[in-house]
Amino acid sequence: MSLNSPEEILTLLLQSTVEDLDIPEALALRAIGEYQSVGKFLADRYDDLGEPEALIYPQGSFRIGTVVRPLGRDDYDIDLVLRLGFAKENISQAALKARSGEDLTAYRESLENSHAPGMEEGKRCWTLRYPAARFHMDLLPGIPNPEAAPHGILITDRELQRWQSSNPIGYADWFRSQMLDDLVRFAKEAKTEVEEVEDWRAVSMLQRAVQVLKRHRDLYFEANPEDAPPSILVSTLAARSYRSGLALYSTVRVMAQEMPFYIEHDNGKFVVPNPVQPDENFADRWGKHPHRKVMFDAWLTALQRDLDDAGGGGGLDRVVERLGEAFGPEPVRKAAEKLGIATRETRESGRLRMAVGSGILGTSHGTRVRPHGFYGTS
């Protein structure tokens, strides 16, 4: 622990902030248990019906380990694919949606009433809500895409008119490959294999940086969320510009500067191709709404400015205030508390030192801060 460089202090605060916003382990495990239970029910059901295999698997931020608690809400979004085994010649988009709904209804009916989740219909998804838990699951129906085996799927558009190709597993595998060094290091420290590190765990600097970016984005676009860059766009540009080996603060700072360079231009259009499905352009909505590209650039500029301002010092209270304006006062306040507690524990374990000349506290050099208690009222 060191309070000797702005980067280290801001890294401590940013790290604690996104840890607070990340999905708690107990919740993640509970969500996994729930969707596996749906998966098992469907596997049995389709087996009994003699129909092709049904699968449920996570996608999106839960799959790549970049979950951030949504602004103003206490419950997490768990995105899942409900992949039924039909061929596209044998099922329409609307029928796929309807069939998935029937399957999920049957699942709910198979449970005792008190355990059954609530169910809601979206344009193309079905949502299961768990009464006591702090999450809901959005299930997106899909069917295999034989042209992009083994993981490619076809999903319906929101109007239930067209098939769109998608490959969430492929994307997640690509994203993971961009943080391989971090995974290897984490696995070594945890004395486990890389393959055993769960997808949803944020163990790499890349994942943590994406969480920082997403949170800053959520607040920056709070008044106009429709203009916010989609998470998949943010994650892709972040992964492309990611440099491993830096502390979190510097990682995010460098990323914010470099991300725009990975936006391609093609015939006057902005393109951020899906790395596993290059025909898909994550920036395609910027074509119809050019002001969103302008706001994207302004957002990254604001992020850099917010990080620089926080590093301006003038008191940790001011640092916390500035970070709180950018990332939300509550999680940053909790991060500051964690820093205080960590400092106290460092002194209690005899490792806290004070540099002579300046008084700067840390663990690397200087006068050891001896045991004592602060007297008086607190």
Binding site: I9, D317, R333, G357, G359, I360, G373, F374, G376
Partner: protein, 146 residues
Amino acid sequence: MGRHKPSAYRHLSVAVQAAALKRDFPRGEARVERSKLTWVGELQPSVLSAPYTVRIDYRLGRRPRVKVIDPELEPPPERTLPHSFTEGDLCLHFADDWSEDQLITKTIVPWACEWLLHYELWLATDRWCGGGHEPRRSLTSESEGR
């Protein structure tokens, strides 16, 4: 780590305390006048913290008194400064934590830096995370310790 009562009255002279402070904080000012030490120096508990001008007054027979003279510590409205005496001195230790055979520069000053760090975090969080003790009645410097 317990402290047993020394059989003889062991103490460091005010001059020795001054010299040690000067050595550790060359930019600070230590003055000894009529057996009283006054030290003024600048402490900054973290590189993003504000610099604080701190004064320590000390004479044998009394605990060192530590005060922040710049900036003036103004608690936010409806909040009282934690771990400080009514006169504004910082409460850095219990009576047992410090004795006159210890160097102020190795004890009181690091504790003051710690206090300043926790003070800044307290301003931001409204929680004192530095640990410590809450007495049953309000405190004036005469009633605490020696």
